[in-house]
């Protein structure tokens, strides 16, 4: 039995399936691929599968990884080809590697956000620029205090580690780095919703581009 890290993209309409749905989708895809999956030896045998950092519903990603355990001899390249052949549209297997870092070392994530359907793209860009260069941007966020759910206030600009705003053709684009991981995680949608308040007819698409450690090294 050995553990391999499967790297994949999740893009297009399939971004509207939740993390739980993705787990089921992956379990079935792996069964179709017939790679020799290792099963737990209990009353209810199930495969071992763990994701580095679950992705929010509606977000695309080019940096997803899941760890699975396989039995017997099968090379990473062979596993990769087998999995590539069985994935539903929107999930692209990019690589199979031996895991290097534990997911607990994930500290930040880089995102790319594109804004569509804006009434005036350059106005949206300009307004966003002003918003992000302000002193603070406090929003309400549903958080947990023990088991209770409470509203918390956070200042998004305190969390914003870096960003860049630009027009790509007619599309306003925001690149940004926010804290991510099990300790402190800030969803970029909080920030995007604020920007959208300036132009309610628009909508945005978030793509997670890269997971980073606290030293800004790529998670591998």
């Amino acid at each position: 039995m050995r553990c391999v890290r499967v790297w994949f993209h999740k893009t297009g309409p399939i971004r509207y399936i939740s993390h739980l749905d993705l787990m089921r989708t992956m379990t079935r895809a792996i069964r179709r691929s017939r790679i020799p999956l290792w099963y737990t030896e209990g009353f209810n045998p199930h495969p071992y599968m763990t994701f580095a950092l679950p992705l929010s519903l509606g977000m695309q990603s080019e940096c997803e990884s899941m760890d699975i355990r396989i039995e017997g001899e099968m090379e990473n390249g062979e596993i990769c080809r087998a999995l590539q052949g069985v994935m539903p549209e929107g999930i692209t297997i990019t690589d199979i590697k031996d895991p290097v870092l534990d997911p607990k070392f994930i500290a930040a994530a880089r995102f790319r956000v594109s804004f569509h359907n804006a009434a005036d793209p350059s106005a949206l860009l300009q307004n966003a620029r002003e918003m992000l260069s302000g002193d603070s941007l406090v929003v309400q966020k549903l958080g947990k205090k023990g088991h209770k759910k409470v509203m918390k206030e956070i200042d998004l600009l305190q969390s914003l580690q870096s960003y860049e705003l630009r027009l790509e053709g007619e599309t306003p684009v925001l690149d940004l780095v926010l804290p991510a991981g099990s300790v402190n995680n800030v969803n970029p949608a909080l920030l995007c919703d604020e920007i959208l308040k300036l132009d309610p007819g628009a909508y945005y698409v978030i793509t997670r581009k890269q997971l980073l450690t606290k030293d800004m090294e790529p998670f591998a």
Partner: protein, 619 residues
């Protein structure tokens, strides 16, 4: 693929995966290369619709034709509907994202009476008039089928065509006719007149209904060459009829998320309350080899790790153990679980239980249906208390600590003793657990009793019976609860308001369409969902339309009365049903079809053939 305008709505609704399509094995064709576009609508949520085996079968049958592209459509949930209406987005099909109103054919599966308002809502959301008479163009043609098609009268004014029976083979001629009419520019009336001549297709607008002064039906009269009766169509050989090689695999968790395989159609038992037991006759079994091969292909194509062998009474499949042996050969190494939903207590064996235990253990559910032998005889359930006890003992010895039992309240001839008998029977099962010397230490037993309210249905021996009123049912529920003396028995009840409405529509006539339209216009939809169900609205609808719901559900009908569905022929002779009704009132049983053919008449649908008849001659 959804339309572009939907993109910005998806982040605003719950479970957006319901509306995106793109699932594995969904079928996308080039719309310029097909002659007919068919929107197959399921009038309930995605999760319910995607669990429905009929849709999977008909989706693959229709798409097997290169000239037809069949797509799926489900009822958008409240939040999505509000967004679509607000943003002017019409109902669209999941595969192409194209508006449903542009399709040639719109099909609805009528699975249960409480989905009726959703049909109207979906037509309206598509931008179409809800009444057939207000849709003048040849296309789209709106066709209905499914279990409720056996009495489609309350919905008749909304449909152009109703198909009776098993869709696998009958649709070919229908597609050809529509294709031909489209090509030669025929009008809708011409198409309908021709469609009425096809076996199994009922065109409600070609039948006039007249009523007596007391409100009962006087006559149903065909016009324009439509046949006096429309006969349900059946397939003759389950081994030769196509079964899907692939299932669309949903991303969302749906209700039945597994490979479902229909191993047999029809039922030998003849339980007098059970509509499916009569509607799906005659008995036809599929061979173990066919089932085994098809299950394997489906598991390969989907990646599912569970197979459900479905039928009305799976343990009555004659070659069940042989089939399980074949399946277990490969399902055990592949860690695929096998579930057998409809088991009976009278033929559940040790070896069957052992086979079920191989991969994962699921719950055990049995349906005694009534609490006393007298009432079980009256409904022809043909299960004895000894059998219930023996089976429970076997299950407890096999390690189960929970058993679920299904019962009904409000069955014809029921007395207070019969109601209390439900609690007694459940108590007997509890006692049986504690009598087991090897019972697991420190573990108690749970006997769950799920108690439905009986709704009399067309084409059953009880089609003339009055349904218990809501007050009577509530009284019986109270009596039952007061007869339970242990916390080891959990009782749950169906809502009586829901059963009442189901009862009204099950045996309703065309005049009820006004109430359905009224209720829908005043906000009723998703009526089968507790949090959407609005009984006050429905009662208001009946009042506003001058209809007495009790006339439909709680009136004893005379055997001589013309029933609203008499012009539809499901093979079962009315005289047979009457004889069964009379036997019920004498608490007399009828042996199952393999012991002795009761002469129901359904074999005429299949050229005189019935597998049960053949099997009874062999034994």
């Amino acid at each position: 693929m959804y339309p572009k305008e939907v993109e910005k709505l998806l982040p605003l609704v719950q479970k957006p995966g319901r509306y995106t399509g793109g699932e594995l094995n969904s079928i996308v064709k080039n719309k310029d290369e097909v002659a007919l576009r068919y929107a197959f609508c399921f009038p309930d949520s995605y999760e319910i619709g995607m669990s429905h085996l009929g849709i999977k079968i008909l989706y693959s049958v229709a798409n097997a034709r290169p000239d037809v592209w069949c797509e799926r459509v489900f009822a958008p949930w409240h939040d999505m509907e509000a967004q679509m209406r607000q943003n002017g987005i019409p109902l669209y099909a999941l595969e192409s994202g194209d508006p449903v109103k542009d399709f040639d054919l719109i099909g609805f599966t009528l699975m249960y009476e409480l989905c009726y308002t959703n049909v109207l809502n979906m037509l309206d959301l598509a931008g179409l008039p809800i009444r057939a008479a207000d849709r003048h163009d040849l296309t789209p043609i709106v066709v209905g089928g499914g279990a409720c098609a056996c009495n489609p009268e309350p919905m008749a004014p909304f449909f152009d065509v109703i198909s009776l029976g098993e869709g696998e083979e009958m649709y070919d001629a229908f597609f050809d006719l529509l294709k031909d009419c489209k090509a030669r520019g025929a009008d809708k009336q011409e198409f309908l007149r021709e469609a009425a001549k096809l076996p199994g297709f009922y065109v409600p607008s070609l039948y006039d209904v007249s009523y007596h002064e007391d409100g009962t039906v006087e006559a149903v009269t065909p016009r324009d060459g439509a046949p006096a009766t429309v006969q349900k169509q059946v397939i003759s050989d389950l081994d030769k009829v196509p079964y899907p090689e692939k299932f669309v695999v949903p991303y969302l968790e749906v209700v039945h998320d597994r490979v479902t395989h229909e191993i047999m159609r029809g039922c030998i038992r003849g339980c007098r309350f059970c509509q499916a037991g009569f509607l799906y006759r005659p008995i036809r079994e599929k061979s173990p080899d066919t089932i085994n091969d098809q299950c394997r292909a489906l598991c390969d194509a989907t990646g599912y790790d569970e197979i459900s062998l479905s039928s009305l009474s799976t343990s009555d499949y004659t070659k069940l153990e042989a089939l399980l042996d074949k399946l277990l050969d490969w399902t055990i190494p592949e860690k695929i679980n096998i579930a057998l939903p409809s088991l009976r207590v009278d033929n559940f064996s040790d070896s069957l239980m052992e086979k079920l235990n191989k991969v994962r253990r699921s719950g055990l559910t049995f349906a005694p249906e009534a609490g006393t032998q007298r009432l079980r005889d009256a409904i022809n359930k043909n299960v004895t208390e000894d059998e219930v006890v023996r089976t429970s003992r076997m299950a407890f010895r096999g390690g189960w600590t929970a058993v679920k039992l299904y019962f009904m309240l409000g069955l014809p001839t029921e007395t207070p003793d019969d109601v209390a008998g439900i609690a007694d029977l459940a108590q007997t099962v509890v006692n049986e657990f504690y009598r087991n010397p090897d019972k697991p230490k420190g573990k108690g037993v749970t006997v769950s009793i799920s108690v439905a309210s009986f709704v009399p249905k067309p084409f059953t021996p009880f089609q003339w019976e009055p349904q218990d009123t809501r007050d009577m049912l509530l009284e019986k529920q109270k009596l039952l609860l007061s007869s339970i003396h242990t916390k080891k028995i959990n009782a749950s009840f169906h809502k009586v308001d829901v059963s009442f409405l189901e009862g009204v529509f099950a045996r309703g006539d065309r005049r009820l369409s006004a109430a359905i339209e009224y209720a829908w216009r005043h906000g009723c939809k998703f009526d089968s969902w507790d949090d959407s169900f609005q009984i006050e609205r429905w009662e208001e609808a009946f009042r506003a339309c001058g209809l007495d719901p009790l006339f439909y559900c709680s009136r004893r009908r005379d055997f001589s009365e013309v029933l609203p569905w008499d012009h539809l022929d499901f093979g079962i002779r009315k005289a047979f049903l009457q004889k069964e009704n009379e036997k019920a009132h004498r608490s007399e049983t009828t042996p199952h079809c393999r012991l002795q053919c009761a002469g129901c008449g359904a074999n005429k649908l299949n050229g005189g053939n019935c597998d049960a008849l053949r099997q009874s001659l062999v034994s």
